[in-house]
C-alpha cells in the first residue's frame, strides 16, 4: 500500500452517521407552548439589553476574522511542525522514537532506516490527528526540538482523521529563513547555559 490513500482528501461518498437531534414540535399545541416558553421568559430581554447597551457605547469588540487574526501564545498547542536546523537545513529529527513512545494517544508512527552516510534516517513520520489530543508531550520530550507545536489552529478538513505526513509538517527548504524557533513546552529555558555541567576535556 502506498501513501497515496492517505493523501487523497476527496471524501467522495462516504457513509456519514446522522446526529440524533430531538424532533421539532409538530402539533400546533406543542409549537404554541414552545413560543410562549421562549417569548415570555426573561432571556429574550437579557439579550436585547446587552445589544442595546453595547450599541450605545459605540465600542465594537468584534475581531474582524479572518482578515484580522489574534496573536497566539507560544505555549498554544496547535498542529505539529517538524523543524530543520537553521544553519545547514538538515532535518532535526534523529528518529529516536521518544515522541512515538510517550504519545498517550498512540498516534505517532515513524519508519527509520540507515541512509547512505550510515546515519539514521527518518523515512516517514505520521501523526493521526483524529487521535491526537494535542497534549504536547511529543514536543516536550523531543531532545532535538524537532517535533514542535505550530500555530496553525485553523484545521479545515473533511475528516479529523486526516494524517499529517512528514511532508506536511517539515519546513520546506525554501522557507527555512521564515522558520521560527519554538519556545513552548520542551524548549530550552533562558538560563539553560548556566545549568549545564561542563565535562572536562583533555585537549
Amino acid at each position: 500500500m502506498s501513501l497515496d490513500a492517505f493523501k487523497n482528501r476527496n471524501i467522495g461518498s462516504q457513509n456519514y452517521v446522522p446526529v440524533n437531534i430531538e424532533n421539532y414540535p409538530t402539533s400546533g399545541w406543542d409549537k404554541f407552548k414552545q413560543v410562549v416558553k421562549r417569548g415570555v421568559g426573561k432571556e429574550l430581554f437579557v439579550g436585547l439589553w446587552v445589544v442595546l447597551r453595547e450599541m450605545l457605547k459605540f465600542k465594537i469588540h468584534t475581531v474582524q476574522y479572518p482578515s484580522e487574526v489574534l496573536p497566539i501564545g507560544p505555549r498554544y498547542r496547535a498542529v505539529h511542525k517538524l523543524l530543520r536546523l537553521l544553519e545547514s537545513g538538515n532535518e532535526r529529527c534523529i528518529g529516536c522514537g521518544l515522541c512515538e513512545k510517550i504519545c498517550v494517544a498512540d498516534c505517532i508512527r515513524m519508519d527509520t532506516r540507515v541512509d547512505e552516510n550510515s546515519r539514521k534516517e527518518v523515512v516517514e513520520y505520521s501523526i493521526n490527528l483524529g487521535r491526537c489530543i494535542f497534549c504536547g508531550y511529543c514536543a516536550e520530550v523531543c531532545p532535538e526540538l524537532a517535533i514542535v507545536h505550530g500555530s496553525r489552529y485553523e484545521n479545515v478538513s473533511e475528516q479529523r482523521a486526516h494524517f499529517v505526513l512528514k511532508d506536511d509538517m517539515l519546513t520546506p527548504i525554501d522557507f527555512l529563513k521564515q522558520q521560527k524557533e519554538f519556545s513552548g513546552f520542551g524548549a530550552l529555558s533562558p538560563n539553560a547555559d548556566q545549568l549545564v555541567k561542563k565535562t572536562p576535556l583533555a585537549y
Binding site: M1, L3, E144, P200
Partner: protein, 765 residues
C-alpha cells in the same frame, strides 16, 4: 556437593560448595551489579563492578567462591565510591548518541550510570579515532565499545570459534595524577580499558560461524546486527517467547515483532533475541526467522474441501520432522482412523536405532542431555558433523572443555577446522563406515566387567578404518587424567548406516558397561517427538499426501503446495527437544488460513477448535497454556517439562556383530550435510540467509580438484548425477565434499542410498 551456609546483606543463605558469591546472590534475589559477567562462562574480570566485601575483605564476587560461614556485604561506602568512579570512567568519551543507538535503552552502561548516580564527570582523556568495522552480519562500532570483553569470552568459552580478541587501542597513557586520586579498582579498570579494543583474531574480517552471540551479549550498542540497524527501537517490539524451529536443540528464543511500516499494520518479525546468560543461539536461529507462509488467501472453504477429499482418498502421508508434537499427533490420529501409512524416512531410521538402543539398556529415553554434556570433562562425539548438525551440541562440548578443563574426541570423516582449533579436542578423521570400529574401540577401552562373549569379540576387531593418529594411546591416557564425567554424543551418520542395528546395540552396551552417558542427537527438529508419537511405516502405498514434502497432493507451509498451512513461527504447539523437554512454540505472526487441525476436524470423530487442544493428551498430560517458557534467576530451565525415562523390557543383544565390510568406499566420497547457517528449506527462505547451494569443498580439496568458486561440476554416484556449482568452504577440511539439503533446487538425496556418505565422482564441466 556439600552445602554451606553464608549470609549476604544479613540474609541467611544455604548454597552449594564451590559456587561463586555472585551466582548465589543472584539465585537468591540479591542484586550485585556486574557488566562483564556471563553465566556459564569463565569470569572475565573486566568491569570490577561486582566488588563485594566478604569477611571484611574486598573480593570480586564473580570470581570468589563462597565459603561456609562467610559474611558478605554487597555495598559499603568504599565500594559505592569505586562503582561510581568505574561508571564515570566508562562514560568518558562515550558518544552521546543514545537517541539513535540500536541498544535503545536496553543499555547496561545507561542503567548502571543512573544506578550509581553519576551526575558529573571528573576524568578525561584524549579520544582516538576509531572507525566502524563491518563484519558480515555484524557491525562493530569501537567508539561505543566499553571493552567488557563479554564477546571475547562468549566466543571462546561458549561458541568455540575464538574469532574475537582484544587488540591494542593506541591511546595516550592515563594522566599520572589519577593513580593517586582515583579509587584503586576504577583506576586499574581504566588502565586496562585504555589499552584495549575488540578485534578479529585473524585477518581484517571476522572469520567465524556467524552465530551472532557476541551481538546478543554486548551490553551496549557496539556490536549490532547490520540488518536490524536503525530499523526499530527495542521498546517498540513485542517479544514473543517461543522455540527455535531449526534443529533438535529447540533453543528458547524471542521473536521480536512490530507493524511493518506506517502504511502497513501487518506484524513483521524484526529480529530474534535470546537470554544470553542461559541460552546460546546459532546463526540459523538468530538470522533465519522470517520463514512464515505468506501465501494464505484466507479461509478458503473449497480448498479445505479439496484437501479433506485428498486425505480421505490417500494411502500415505509423507512428512518430515519440522513439525510440532500436536501435528504429529493429528497425523497419527488420521492414520488410526483412515488406515494411512505414515512415511518419514529420517525419523524412521532414528526410531529403529532408538528402539534397538533402548531395549538394550531397558530405558525409554537416552540418559544424557546438553546440561549433562556441559558438566562433563570427557566427551566423545561419533557420527555427527557437530558444527552444522547440532551447533548447540558443539557449544556444549566446547563449554565443557573450557570450563571443566575437559577433553574431547571428535570422530568424523569430514574435517572440521573449528573443532580442531578448540584446545582439548582431538579430531580423528575416520573413514566412512568405520562407526562400528569406533564404538567397539570405545567399548573395549572404557568398558568394565564386560561379559566374556563381548570381550572375546572385541579382541578380534581391527581398528584400521578409524585412522588413529600416532601414539594415540599415550595421548588418550594424557587426556583422561583426572577425568570423572563422561559423555558420548551420537549423531545422524549412525542412524542411517547400513549397520545401524549393530551400532545401536554397541551404544547400548557402552552405556551399560562404562561410565558414559549417551546423547542421541535427534536428526531433525522434532524427530524425538515424532518417534514417540507416531507409528511410522517404512514405505507407503496408494496416493501420497505430502506434509511439507512434495507429493501427489502437497500440504505445505512454504506456500508452493496445493493447500497452505502455517509455518512454525505462525502456530502454537510443542516440540520434544534434545533435552527430552517438551517446549512450547508461540504465534509470532498471524496466519489467517486453515491448518492441519481443520482438515482433521472434518475427518476425525472429535472436533477441536485449536491444534493445542491436543497438547493435554501428550506425554505428561499437561495443558499447553500451563507450559511456561522461561528461566529462573539462577538459570534453572523452567520451560515446559521434562519427559522422564521409564523402564522398559530389556532384550538381549542379538549381537551378530559382523565386521564392517572393509573399504566400501574406494574412491572419493561425498557427504550429505548442510553448510553453516543452513538447516532446511525454512532457513533458506529467511531473507538474511538466502543463498544458493552447491558442492561445498575445502580450500585444499578445491586445489586438488583444480576448481574455483563458482565452477560447475558434475557429481555422479551410482544412483545418478547432479550438476552443481562449487562453493569453497573454509569451515571444512580434508577431501570430502558436502552436498546440502536446504536448497530445493538441488535434489541431493537422490544421489544417496540413505547413508550420509557415498562414493562419488566429481568432474568439472
Amino acid at each position: 556437593m556439600s552445602e554451606i551456609k553464608l549470609t549476604i546483606d544479613g540474609k541467611e543463605i544455604i548454597a552449594n560448595d564451590g559456587e561463586t558469591i555472585l551466582r548465589i546472590a543472584r539465585a537468591n534475589d540479591i542484586f550485585i551489579p556486574a557488566i562483564c559477567y556471563l553465566e556459564r562462562c569463565s569470569p572475565t574480570l573486566a568491569c570490577r563492578l561486582c566488588l563485594v566485601e566478604a569477611d571484611g575483605k574486598q573480593v570480586y564476587s564473580c570470581n570468589a567462591k563462597a565459603k561456609d560461614g562467610m559474611k558478605v556485604l554487597t555495598t559499603t561506602p568504599n565500594i559505592k565510591e569505586e562503582r561510581k568512579a568505574i561508571m564515570e570512567v566508562y562514560d568518558v568519551n562515550h558518544p552521546l548518541e543514545c537517541g539513535v543507538c540500536d541498544q535503545s535503552g536496553e543499555c547496561e552502561l545507561q542503567n548502571y550510570t543512573l544506578l550509581e548516580e553519576v551526575n558529573n564527570q571528573r576524568y578525561s582523556i584524549k579520544d582516538t579515532h576509531k572507525p566502524v568495522k563491518n563484519w558480515g552480519f555484524i557491525q562493530y562500532d569501537p567508539a561505543l565499545c566499553i571493552v567488557c570483553e563479554k564477546c571475547v569470552t562468549v566466543c571462546k568459552d561458549m561458541i568455540g570459534d575464538s574469532a574475537l580478541k582484544t587488540v591494542p587501542r593506541d591511546s595516550e597513557a592515563l594522566d599520572k595524577n589519577y593513580k593517586d586520586t582515583m579509587p584503586k579498582d576504577a583506576y586499574a579498570m581504566w588502565n586496562k580499558l585504555n589499552k584495549s579494543l575488540i578485534g578479529t583474531s585473524s585477518g581484517s574480517t571476522l572469520d567465524c560461524t556467524n552465530c551472532g552471540e557476541c551481538t546478543s551479549v554486548c551490553p551496549v550498542g557496539a556490536l549490532i546486527s547490520k540488518d536490524f540497524k536503525y530499523k526499530s527501537n527495542a521498546w517498540e517490539l513485542d517479544k514473543v517467547p517461543s522455540t527455535c524451529a531449526h534443529c533438535s536443540v529447540g533453543c528458547q528464543i524471542y521473536y521480536e515483532t512490530k507493524h511493518t511500516d506506517i502504511s502497513n499494520s501487518e506484524q513483521k518479525i524484526y529480529r530474534v533475541s535470546n537470554e544470553s546468560h542461559f541460552t546460546t543461539l546459532c546463526g540459523a536461529g538468530r538470522y533465519g526467522y522470517d520463514f512464515q507462509n505468506n501465501s494464505s488467501t484466507g479461509k478458503d472453504k473449497s480448498a479445505l474441501k479439496r484437501a479433506v477429499e485428498a486425505v480421505k482418498n490417500a494411502g500415505t502421508i509423507i512428512f518430515n520432522s519440522q513439525i510440532t508434537n500436536e501435528e504429529a499427533f493429528i497425523l497419527q490420529k488420521l492414520k488410526n482412523k483412515l488406515g494411512l501409512k505414515l512415511v518419514n524416512n529420517e525419523a524412521y531410521k532414528y526410531a529403529e536405532f532408538f528402539k534397538t538402543y533402548s531395549h538394550v539398556v531397558g530405558k525409554s529415553l537416552y540418559s544424557a542431555d546438553l546440561d549433562y554434556i556441559r558438566s562433563c570433562d570427557f566427551i566423545i562425539s561419533v557420527g555427527s558433523a557437530l558444527k552444522t548438525d547440532s551447533p548447540n551440541s558443539r557449544f556444549a562440548v566446547n563449554n565443557a572443555i573450557k570450563i571443566n578443563k575437559g577433553a574431547s574426541l571428535y570422530f568424523h570423516p569430514v574435517g572440521d577446522p573449528v573443532m580442531e582449533s578448540i584446545k582439548g579436542v582431538l579430531q580423528i578423521k575416520s573413514k566412512p563406515y568405520s562407526e562400528e570400529q569406533i564404538l567397539s574401540y570405545i567399548l573395549k577401552r572404557f568398558g568394565k566387567n564386560l561379559p566374556d562373549n563381548i570381550s572375546k569379540y572385541l579382541l578380534n576387531i581391527d581398528f584400521s578404518d578409524v585412522n588413529f593418529p600416532d601414539n594415540f594411546e599415550a595421548t588418550l591416557d594424557g587426556m583422561l587424567k583426572k577425568k570423572s564425567r563422561f559423555g558420548l554424543i551420537i549423531g545422524a551418520d549412525l542412524y542411517s548406516s547400513p549397520q545401524a542395528h549393530n551400532l545401536a546395540e554397541l551404544v547400548g552396551l557402552i552405556e551399560i558397561y562404562s561410565d558414559f552417558k549417551i546423547l542421541l542427537i535427534p536428526s531433525d527438529t522434532n524427530t524425538l517427538g515424532v518417534i514417540k508419537i507416531c507409528q511410522l511405516d517404512k514405505s507407503g502405498n496408494g496416493k501420497r499426501i505430502g506434509y511439507n514434502e512434495k507429493a501427489d497432493f502437497t500440504i505445505s507451509a512454504f506456500g508452493d503446495g496445493d493447500f497452505s498451512v502455517p509455518a512454525l513461527n505462525q502456530q502454537e504447539g510443542t516440540f520434544l527437544n534434545i533435552d527430552k523437554r517438551v517446549v512450547p512454540l508461540n504465534v509470532a505472526l498471524k496466519f489467517d488460513g486453515f491448518e492441519l487441525n481443520d482438515i482433521a476436524n472434518e475427518i476425525l470423530d472429535e472436533v477441536h477448535e485449536n491444534t493445542i487442544d491436543y497438547t493435554v493428551e501428550l506425554f505428561n498430560k499437561i495443558e499447553f497454556d500451563k507450559l511456561s517458557n522461561e528461566f529462573s534467576n539462577s538459570g534453572e530451565d523452567l520451560r515446559g517439562y521434562v519427559v522422564n525415562s521409564s523402564n522398559i523390557e530389556k532384550r538381549d543383544v542379538t549381537f551378530h556383530l559382523a565386521q564392517s565390510e572393509k573399504n566400501r568406499i574406494q574412491g572419493k566420497a561425498i557427504y550429505l550435510a548442510n553448510p553453516v547457517l543452513q538447516f532446511n528449506k525454512f532457513t533458506a527462505k529467511a531473507h538474511q540467509l538466502q543463498e544458493k547451494g552447491g558442492l561445498y569443498v575445502s580450500p585444499e580439496y578445491a586445489k586438488e580438484l583444480s576448481v574455483v568458486d563458482g565452477n560447475n561440476v558434475l557429481v555422479a554416484t551410482k544412483n545418478g548425477s547432479l550438476k552443481v556449482s562449487i562453493i569453497i568452504d573454509n569451515k571444512i577440511s580434508g577431501n570430502l565434499a558436502i552436498l546440502p539439503t536446504f536448497d530445493s533446487n538441488i535434489d541431493s538425496r537422490k544421489l544417496f542410498d540413505g547413508y550420509r556418505f557415498i562414493e562419488a565422482k566429481i568432474n568439472k564441466v
